[in-house]
C-alpha cells in the first residue's frame, strides 16, 4: 500500500499522476495504475471539493446527533444504521463507543428542517431510544482544513 501517495492525494486531490510521479520519484504510468486499483478496490472512495458554505448565499446548518439504540438480534446496530444513512441529508454515520451508539451528522437548509428530520424520521425508528441534537455554530477546521485562514504570505524577505 502506497501510503505516501494516498496522503498526498488526501491533501490535494487535484494532483495528476504525472505530478505525483515526479514528487515521489516514480513512474507516471505506474502511479496511474495504482490509482485505478485504489479506486476499484474502494481504498479511494472519491474526490471532492471542500466548500465553505458560509461564504455563499446558500443557507445551511449542520447538526451532530447522538443516538442511543437498542441492538437488534443478530444484526446489532447495522440495520438501524443503514436505515439512517439512506436519508440523503445524513452526511456521516459513525458507530461510537461511550455514552451513545451512533453519531449522525446531518446537513439541512434550516434548523426547522433538521428538527423535522429528528422528530419525524429519526426518533420514530423503533430501535431508537433517545436522541440529542447539537447544532454546529461555526466551523473552524474540517478534515484538516482551516476555514478562516488568511491566504496572505506574511513571510519577510531576508
Amino acid at each position: 500500500m502506497n501510503t505516501e501517495l494516498l496522503k498526498l492525494l488526501e491533501n490535494d486531490a487535484r494532483l495528476t499522476a504525472s505530478q505525483l510521479a515526479v514528487m515521489l520519484d516514480g513512474d507516471a504510468e505506474q502511479i496511474a495504475k495504482e490509482l485505478e486499483e485504489y479506486e476499484k478496490n474502494g481504498t479511494i472512495l472519491g474526490y471532492k471539493a471542500i466548500v465553505d458554505w458560509e461564504k455563499t448565499e446558500q443557507e445551511s446548518v449542520t447538526a451532530m446527533i447522538d443516538v442511543k439504540l437498542t441492538p437488534q438480534r443478530d444484526r446489532g446496530f447495522d440495520r438501524v444504521a443503514e436505515k439512517i444513512y439512506n436519508y440523503p441529508e445524513v452526511k456521516s454515520v459513525y458507530l461510537m463507543s461511550g455514552a451513545y451508539d451512533l453519531s449522525v451528522l446531518i446537513e439541512g437548509k434550516t434548523m426547522k428542517e433538521v428538527a423535522f428530520f429528528v422528530s419525524q424520521k429519526l426518533a420514530p425508528i423503533e430501535a431508537v431510544i433517545s436522541t440529542a441534537t447539537h447544532f454546529v455554530l461555526h466551523k473552524y477546521k474540517d478534515k484538516g482544513v482551516l476555514y478562516d485562514a488568511s491566504e496572505i504570505d506574511e513571510r519577510g524577505n531576508v
Binding site: 498526498l8 505530478q19 514528487m23 515521489l24 520519484d25 524577505n157 531576508v158
Partner: protein, 388 residues
C-alpha cells in the same frame, strides 16, 4: 549642521546593502506577483513548540538566562549534535545560544579576526559572510565554486587560495543558494589540506537537516578537525522557527570563551521564551523535521523536473530548499532575466549575482512554497522563456 559623511564608520558605509534586499524592494511595489523568493519555511512552527513558548510566559519565565543560554537547552543541543552528527561539546563551556544563526556567524568572525586576516569565502553563498568578515577587520578572499563541480569546493582551488594570512575557511554547506552539499569523502579532502595548519573552519550548518541524498556530515566529526571548527547552526530552518531568532555555536572551549564575551556584552542572553520553545523542539521535534523534509524533497523533485521540461538546466539540489538554475543561456544576464520575468510575467526569483561571484548566470528559486504555488510560477517562467 552635522556632517554625516564624517561621523559614520567608513567600513560600514562602504558595505553594500544585501543584493537580495534590492530586488525585494522592487518586487514589493508590484501587484499579483507570484514569488519564489523567500528564504524561510512555509510551515508554521509546530504547535507543541509554540505551546512550550507560551507555557513559559504563563509561568512568568521572563527573566534573563545565563549568558550562554539555559543549561538544559545547551545540554539538549549537545545531545542533538552527538545523536545526529557524532560531534560532542561540553554544555558548560562549548555551547552558546545565540540570536539566530546570523549572530553566531558574526561572533565567530569577531572572536578570531585580527586586522588583515584573510577569510576564505566560497561563493555563491549566503550574503552575510563577506560584509561581516570585513566589518570585523578581515579581508574576504572569494573562492568561486562552479556549476561543473556541483558548486562544491575544489581542493586544488582551496590550496591556491591559502596564504600565510589565511585565518579561516567558511564552509557554507548545505548551501544557500545552490543546494550543494559536501559529502564525508569530499570534506575529508578539505580536512587533509587544513589538518596541520592554524586555519580555522566556520561551518555554517543551518540547513543540516535538509539533505536529500544522504545525511549531512559535519567537518568537525573528521579526524583533527574538531579542534579547529566552529559550528554555527540554529532552529530556523529545521523546526520552521525563523521568527524566534534561535541559533547556536559549538566550538572548543578556548574559542567559545572569547565568543561568549562578545555575546555577553552585546546581547546579554538570547530571548528566554524562545529558549524554552527550543528545548521542546530538540526533545520532541524529530517527527516534525521528517515530515517537513519529506515535503521539501517532493517539491525539490517537482521543481527540478519542471525546470528541466521547460528546457532550463539546473544542478539537481541535494540540500537546503533552493534550486539554482542556469539562466545565462538566453542572452541575458541573470539580473536582466529576473527583471524581465518580474516586470513582464509577474514572477519573482532572485538573481544569482546577489550571492556573490559565480552567480551571475544563475537565479535562486526557493521551493519553500506549496506545489500549487510552484506550478503557477513555473507556468509563468515557461511563458517567459518561450519568448526568448
Amino acid at each position: 549642521m552635522i556632517d554625516y559623511g564624517k561621523v559614520l564608520s567608513r567600513t560600514v558605509v562602504e558595505t553594500p546593502k544585501s543584493g537580495i534586499r534590492k530586488f525585494f524592494d522592487l518586487m514589493s511595489t508590484m501587484k499579483d506577483v507570484v514569488g519564489l523568493t523567500v528564504g524561510e519555511p512555509d510551515f508554521q512552527t509546530p504547535w507543541h513548540i509554540r505551546e512550550a513558548g507560551i507555557a513559559s510566559l504563563e509561568k512568568g519565565r521572563t527573566y534573563y538566562t545565563a549568558n550562554a543560554g539555559l543549561m538544559e537547552l545547551r545540554q539538549e543541543i549537545n545531545n542533538y549534535m552527538t545523536r545526529r552528527f557524532s560531534v560532542s561539546y561540553d554544555p558548560a563551556s562549548e555551547v552558546i545560544v545565540t540570536v539566530g544563526g546570523s549572530e553566531a556567524i558574526d561572533l565567530a568572525f569577531r572572536a578570531v579576526i585580527e586586522a588583515g586576516d584573510e577569510i576564505i569565502i566560497p561563493t555563491p553563498s549566503f550574503v552575510c559572510y563577506a560584509p561581516l568578515a570585513r566589518i570585523a577587520g578581515g579581508v574576504p578572499v572569494i573562492l568561486e565554486t562552479k556549476f561543473e563541480d556541483k558548486f562544491k569546493i575544489d581542493p586544488e582551488a582551496l590550496k591556491a587560495a591559502i596564504t600565510p594570512k589565511t585565518k579561516m575557511l567558511v564552509l557554507p554547506y548545505p548551501n544557500n543558494p545552490t543546494g550543494a552539499i559536501m559529502t564525508r569523502q569530499e570534506l575529508s579532502e578539505i580536512a587533509e589540506i587544513l589538518r596541520d595548519t592554524n586555519i580555522l573552519v566556520l561551518s555554517d550548518e543551518i540547513y543540516a537537516e535538509m539533505t536529500y541524498t544522504g545525511d549531512h556530515c559535519s567537518i568537525a566529526s573528521l579526524e583533527g578537525m574538531w579542534e579547529r571548527t566552529i559550528i554555527a547552526s540554529g532552529f530556523s530552518k529545521a523546526y520552521a522557527m525563523t521568527g524566534w531568532r534561535m541559533g547556536y555555536l559549538c566550538a572548543p572551549a578556548p574559542i567559545a570563551e572569547q565568543m561568549l564575551k562578545l555575546h555577553q556584552y552585546g546581547i546579554m542572553s538570547s530571548p528566554t521564551t524562545a529558549q524554552f520553545a527550543a528545548i521542546e523542539a530538540l526533545k520532541n521535534g524529530e517527527e516534525d523535521i521528517r515530515m517537513m523534509v519529506n515535503e521539501y524533497n517532493r517539491r525539490r523533485r517537482y521543481i527540478y523536473n519542471g525546470l528541466k521540461s521547460i528546457g532550463i538546466e539546473s544542478f539537481e539540489p541535494e540540500g537546503a530548499f533552493y534550486i539554482f538554475p542556469k539562466i545565462g543561456d538566453y542572452g541575458l544576464t541573470g539580473e536582466e532575466f529576473c527583471s524581465k520575468l518580474l516586470y513582464d510575467y509577474k514572477c519573482a526569483i532572485v538573481p544569482g549575482s546577489a550571492f556573490g561571484q559565480g552567480g551571475e548566470n544563475f537565479a535562486r528559486i526557493s521551493y519553500a512554497y506549496s506545489i500549487q504555488h510552484i506550478t503557477q510560477a513555473l507556468e509563468r517562467i515557461e511563458a517567459f522563456v518561450k519568448t526568448l
